[in-house]
C-alpha cells in the first residue's frame, strides 16, 4: 500500500501550482496624546462680550500634550474664531485669543512659547522635549459694535492637533 500512495502524492504536487500568502501585522501607537484637562467657560462681563478671562467669570480651557518621543511631533492649537452653536446672530463677531504654555514637565519646555509660530488663529509648537506640556487658551468674542449678544447658549471649539513631522 505504501508503494502506491507515495507516487500518487508526488504526481499531484508536481502537476498543480501552489501559492501561499501570509500577513505581517504591525500596530503603531501614537507617541503623542492630547488630553482635554479643563473645559473652558465663557464669562459675560458685558452684554456685548464673551470671554474666558477669570477676572470676568470665565475659565480658560487647558489642554495637555503627552509626547513620548521628542522631535517627532508638532502641536497646533487654534483658538476659536466662530461659534459651533449659538443663537442666530445678525451682526459680526470679532474674535481674539491666545495660546500659552501654562505648565511643563521639563524645564527645557519653557522656551516653547518664545519659539512658537503664529499664523491666523493657529499657534504651532515644535515638541522638542519628551514629556507633558499644558497649554492654556484664552478666547474673547465681541459682538458688533458694543451690541448685546442674543440670549442663549454659546459654544466655541478649540482645536488641538498633534502632527507627526
Amino acid at each position: 500500500m505504501l508503494k502506491i500512495v507515495v507516487p500518487m502524492a508526488v504526481s499531484i504536487l508536481a502537476t498543480e501550482f501552489v501559492q501561499a500568502q501570509t500577513e505581517i501585522i504591525g500596530n503603531v501607537d501614537s507617541k503623542c496624546i492630547i488630553v482635554s484637562e479643563t473645559p473652558g467657560v465663557y464669562g459675560n462681563p458685558n452684554p456685548y462680550q464673551l470671554t474666558t478671562a477669570t477676572t470676568s467669570g470665565g475659565v480658560q480651557p487647558i489642554i495637555r500634550f503627552d509626547v513620548l518621543a521628542a522631535d517627532y511631533y508638532k502641536a497646533v492649537i487654534e483658538h476659536p474664531v466662530s461659534f459651533s452653536s449659538a443663537p442666530t446672530l445678525d451682526d459680526v463677531v470679532t474674535w481674539t485669543g491666545d495660546v500659552e504654555v501654562s505648565e511643563v514637565s521639563d524645564t527645557d519646555m519653557s522656551t516653547y512659547d518664545s519659539d512658537k509660530i503664529e499664523y491666523d488663529n493657529a499657534h504651532e509648537y515644535q515638541m522638542t522635549v519628551a514629556g507633558s506640556t499644558w497649554f492654556k487658551i484664552s478666547s474673547v468674542a465681541d459682538y458688533g459694535y458694543n451690541k448685546s449678544f442674543p440670549a442663549g447658549q454659546y459654544t466655541a471649539v478649540v482645536e488641538a492637533e498633534c502632527i507627526p513631522l
Partner: protein, 289 residues
C-alpha cells in the same frame, strides 16, 4: 447546586472568615506651609505604610538670563544621603510652572526623612505642591484585627500566684535553726580564742615577771601554774637518750688509683687555659708597644 450555594453562604458567614485589604491614598500638600517639611507630619501613621509615588509642581519665577536650579528632595530618615532628589535646571530659561511625577517601588515610610525644596541661584519658587501617594495593608499586623488572616487568639495567663520560699514556715524554721547553730559555733570560737589569749598572756607573765616577787600575786601565780601545768608536757623535764652513728665504710687496699681519662681531660683544659692566657698577654704587650 443548591447545597453548594448554601455551603458557600455558610462559609462566608463563619466567624473565622478573614480578609486583608490594601488601602491606597495620597497625602495633603507637604509644601503647603513652607519649603521644608517633616514626613512624620505628612504621612499617616499606619503600620507597614509604604510610599509608592510623588507628584510635585511649582512655579519658577526668574529672569530668563539668570541661573537657577531647584532641588526637590527627601533625605533618608537616618540622615545618610537622599532617598529622593530631583533637580530642575532653569538656567538661561524663562520661568514657568513645572509638574513632575515619580513612582517608587513601595519604599517603607520609615525610610523617609525630612523633605524640602531648595533653590540654588537667582529666582523664587511659588505655589509649590508636593503630594505623596502611599499604600498600606490593614492586616500588616494580624493582631490588630481578629478578622485578619493569621490572627491568634490571645491566651489569658491564669493567676497562679507567686510563691515566695522566704515566706514558708518550714524553710524559715530551718533557716533560724541554721542561724542558731552558726551563732553557737561563732560563740564557741570566740570563747576558744579568749581562752587561748588568756593562756598566752598568763604564760608570758609567768616567764617574764617570775623574778620580781613584788609583782607576784599568789592567786595569779597559782592560776598561772595551774595553766602551765595544763600546757607543758609532763616529760618536759626529762632528758632524751642520745645516739651516735659510727663510720662503717672500709677502703680495701689503702690507695685509690687515678682516673686516666679524667687526667687527660684536665690536662687538655689546662693547655687551653694556658694558650688563652698567653694570647691575652701577647695582645696586651703589642698594645703597650
Amino acid at each position: 447546586m443548591k447545597r453548594l450555594g448554601l455551603g458557600l453562604a455558610a462559609l462566608c458567614c463563619l466567624p473565622s472568615y478573614s480578609f486583608s485589604e490594601e488601602i491606597y491614598g495620597t497625602t495633603n500638600n507637604a509644601a503647603q506651609t513652607g519649603l521644608a517639611w517633616v514626613m512624620t507630619n505628612i504621612l499617616p501613621e499606619y503600620a507597614g505604610l509604604e510610599v509608592n509615588g510623588l507628584v510635585y509642581s511649582y512655579t519658577a519665577v526668574k529672569d530668563p538670563e539668570t541661573d537657577m536650579i531647584v532641588w526637590v528632595q527627601n533625605e533618608y530618615a537616618d540622615g545618610n544621603g537622599y532617598i529622593f532628589r530631583n533637580s530642575d535646571d532653569w538656567s538661561g530659561l524663562p520661568g514657568n510652572t513645572i509638574s513632575k511625577s515619580f513612582a517608587f517601588p513601595n519604599l517603607p515610610a520609615t525610610l523617609w526623612g525630612p523633605g524640602s525644596i531648595e533653590v540654588d541661584g537667582e529666582g523664587d519658587v511659588e505655589n509649590a505642591s508636593v503630594v505623596y501617594s502611599y499604600r498600606y495593608d490593614t492586616c500588616f499586623d494580624p493582631q490588630t484585627d481578629p478578622s485578619c488572616p493569621g490572627y491568634r487568639e490571645t491566651v489569658e495567663i491564669p493567676d497562679v500566684g507567686l510563691y515566695d520560699p522566704l515566706q514558708d514556715d518550714l524553710i524559715q524554721e530551718d533557716m533560724e535553726r541554721k542561724a542558731r547553730i552558726q551563732e553557737e559555733e561563732a560563740e564557741q570560737e570566740r570563747q576558744r580564742r579568749r581562752e587561748q589569749w588568756a593562756l598566752s598572756n598568763a604564760l608570758e607573765d609567768l616567764l617574764g615577771d617570775g623574778n620580781n616577787p613584788g609583782l607576784i600575786d599568789p592567786v595569779s601565780e597559782a592560776l598561772a601554774l595551774a595553766l602551765t601545768a595544763r600546757v607543758l608536757p609532763t616529760d618536759y623535764l626529762y632528758s632524751l637518750e642520745g645516739r651516735e652513728y659510727l663510720e662503717t665504710v672500709v677502703l680495701n687496699g689503702g690507695t685509690i688509683q687515678d682516673n686516666s681519662k679524667a687526667r687527660r681531660s684536665n690536662l687538655a683544659q689546662q693547655l687551653l687555659h694556658q694558650q688563652m692566657v698567653d694570647s691575652q698577654y701577647e695582645s696586651s704587650q703589642q698594645e703597650t708597644k
